[in-house]
């Protein structure tokens, strides 16, 4: 079974960069594999293994032909990658990204299943996987906490607030997986050395048959007008115990839906 995994290469969250003048995140340094995507990579490797063979192909969009994060996923065991890198993509929003990734996925022959994380750790729009499915006209299942493939069907336990739903979709399909769907393996030294020689198909927007003037800032239907820091965390609420403190604590926890 051939599985495509959408992966994002992001600035290291431990060393967050500054913003560009146009309010987008600086991405000119070394980028790393978004940890939330390592779950999809591991899931894909396990599904291909369980099916008795097949390739895991990575699809990514990043500036400056950046491959550092892809190498990490290749070191985990993915076979090859398609990387879309093009200055025209600067300022791309979620829908642009979905169109580009969908076109890149079409370059991968015989993809039975497409996996993605639920959202990236630097953008958090959480919409790209479903948009890719819509562009490709594929069924999609989101928030998978367990994935199985059998007889041309993907069976998913879909995380909900109160538990999980059992979903099925015919292949090919797109599934977005949650952190914790599987435990990602650590890249081995032999995997790291092997990753250097694995093929990375580097393409531009034009190579994908898309119009460069329809993506990025040029084709943007949106503009970032202002960025402000997140508000500092406020001091907690102090409850004076007048015999009803326990009730207030229960109400507070109930409000957080942890009870």
């Amino acid at each position: 079974m051939n599985v495509v995994v959408c992966v994002k290469q992001i600035p290291d969250p431990a060393d967050p960069g500054a913003l560009e003048e146009d309010h987008t995140l600086k991405r000119d340094g070394k980028l790393i594999l978004d940890e939330s995507d390592s779950y999809g990579v591991e899931m894909a490797l396990q599904l291909a293994d369980a099916a008795g063979g097949g390739d895991v192909t990575l699809v990514s969009m990043a500036p400056n032909n950046e491959t550092s994060g892809l190498r990490t996923a290749l070191a985990m065991g993915a076979a090859k990658a398609v990387l879309v890198s093009d200055d025209a993509l600067s300022g791309a929003g979620a829908l642009d990204t979905a169109k580009v990734l969908a076109a890149a996925i079409k370059r991968v022959e015989g993809a039975d299943l497409i996996l993605a994380a639920t959202e990236s750790s630097d953008g958090y729009t959480g919409t790209v996987p479903e948009q890719i499915a819509a562009v490709l006209d594929l069924p999609s299942v989101t928030f998978a906490k367990h994935v199985e493939v059998a007889d041309g069907t993907v069976k998913v336990q879909r995380q909900t607030e109160s538990g999980f739903d059992e979903c099925e979709a015919p292949l090919p399909a797109l599934v977005s997986v949650t952190a914790g769907v599987v435990e990602p393996r650590y890249p081995s030294f032999k995997g790291i050395m092997a990753a250097k020689s694995k093929p990375v198909d580097q393409v531009t927007v034009a190579d994908l048959g898309l119009d460069p003037s329809a993506v990025g800032w040029a084709g943007a239907g949106q503009e970032i007008v202002d960025v402000s820091p997140a508000p500092e965390r406020q001091a907690g609420e102090v409850i004076e115990d007048e015999g009803d403190a326990h009730q207030k604590i229960v109400e507070f926890l109930d409000g957080l839906k942890v009870l």
Binding site: P187, S188, F189, I192, K196
Partner: protein, 350 residues
């Protein structure tokens, strides 16, 4: 000529760093301490301590210096020096340097003894851990990890040959040292005989010791970097008189001094790794320079870290002591700074 680390070497370092970051946080180091309050604070499950070694085996670190024919990667000092630094940073509570950097290549080049469940395959697979007491004149006391290692490398007092003793042959007697995570033991017996000799070749014996001292120096760099990171994090967060204490000049000066010593020691350690990897005639001198400078740097960084933390740095519930005590223990093993300075002096003919 390019003296920087290769992409592979940095890739291996990053892989080990991110793995240890997740698998060997302070709670795991603390879980390796005896459960008697001396290492108090948040502890991981005891199984998490063993899991660190298993993960190191999974990703292929334990065979880094084992020949490819024996299932390893056949790499040398320049390839593992950064890994030893990461093991130091995480204060891995296992004989990493002793097993990976000393025992494995020594057993491979000496070719014996590989029986008795202490084989190279066992090292690569993570089932065998080896302690070592190879410092010239070592009296067999307080050998780190000897209490739970599968074997101990020692010098025979009469011949100078290196032997690999099982715990029973070594007369292992558990003792408490300043670092509760290293399960040290006195070797009360040391039954060295032809059946457990590894090598009597002086070149191999000297090389094994130098690898251990180099590995200890690299671990000390990592420990010093960790203590400095902890301290910088603390002084940025801790506020007094309405500002972070790190904004006070006296605190900044301490931390700048610490960083200068650490950064001066680092190239000496990398130089020693280079000399060892290329078989330089100056290997012993360079390793001694590295161990002396790294020991001094780690002690100084530790002292500054403790002072900048104030009272909380003295508590066993806070993490600093886990790294500080490991640094003290390592500075005192594989030759003290004074012993190594003396060896540098002799190498220079003074």
């Amino acid at each position: 000529m390019r003296f920087a680390f290769t992409e592979d070497q940095l890739g291996f370092r990053d892989a080990v760093r991110s793995m240890l970051d997740k698998e060997c946080p302070a709670e795991v180091v603390r879980a390796a301490w005896p459960d008697d309050g001396t290492g108090a604070g948040a502890r991981a499950e005891p199984a998490a301590v063993a899991a660190v070694w298993a993960r190191l085996a999974d990703i292929g670190v334990l065979g880094v210096a084992v020949p490819e024919a024996a299932g390893g990667l056949g790499l040398a000092e320049l390839d593992w020096v950064l890994l030893a630094e990461e093991a130091g940073y995480a204060a891995v509570p296992h004989p990493f340097v002793e097993t990976v950097a000393v025992a494995a290549p020594l057993l491979a080049s000496a070719g014996a003894p590989t029986g008795g469940g202490r084989s190279l395959a066992g090292i690569v697979g993570g089932t065998v851990r080896i302690a070592a007491a190879l410092t010239p004149g070592h009296d067999g006391r307080a050998v780190p990890y000897a209490a739970r290692a599968d074997g101990v490398l020692v010098h025979a007092r009469s011949t100078g040959a290196v032997h690999l003793l099982g715990p029973d042959e070594a007369g292992v007697h558990s003792v408490r040292t300043v670092d509760g995570a290293i399960d040290a033991a006195d070797l009360t017996d040391r039954r060295c005989h032809d059946g457990n000799v590894v090598t009597a070749a002086p070149a191999l014996v000297d090389q094994a010791f130098d690898r251990g001292a180099l590995g200890a120096a690299a671990q000390l760099l990592g420990l010093a970097r960790h203590m400095l990171d902890l301290t910088v994090g603390y002084v940025v967060e801790r506020r007094q008189f309405g500002v972070p204490v790190g904004s006070f000049q006296a605190v900044k000066h301490h931390l700048a001094d610490a960083l200068v010593h650490l950064e001066l020691a680092r190239p000496a350690v990398h130089r020693a790794a280079y000399s060892a990897a290329v078989g330089s005639p100056n290997r012993a001198r360079d390793v001694s320079m590295a161990k002396a400078m790294a020991s001094d740097a780690a002690r100084l960084v530790g002292a500054k870290a403790l002072q900048c933390h104030g009272a909380i740095g003295y508590t066993v519930e806070y993490d600093l002591h886990l790294y500080l005590k490991r640094a003290w223990a390592l500075a005192a093993t594989w030759g003290t700074a004074a012993w190594h300075r003396d060896r540098v002096g002799r190498a220079m003919g003074i």
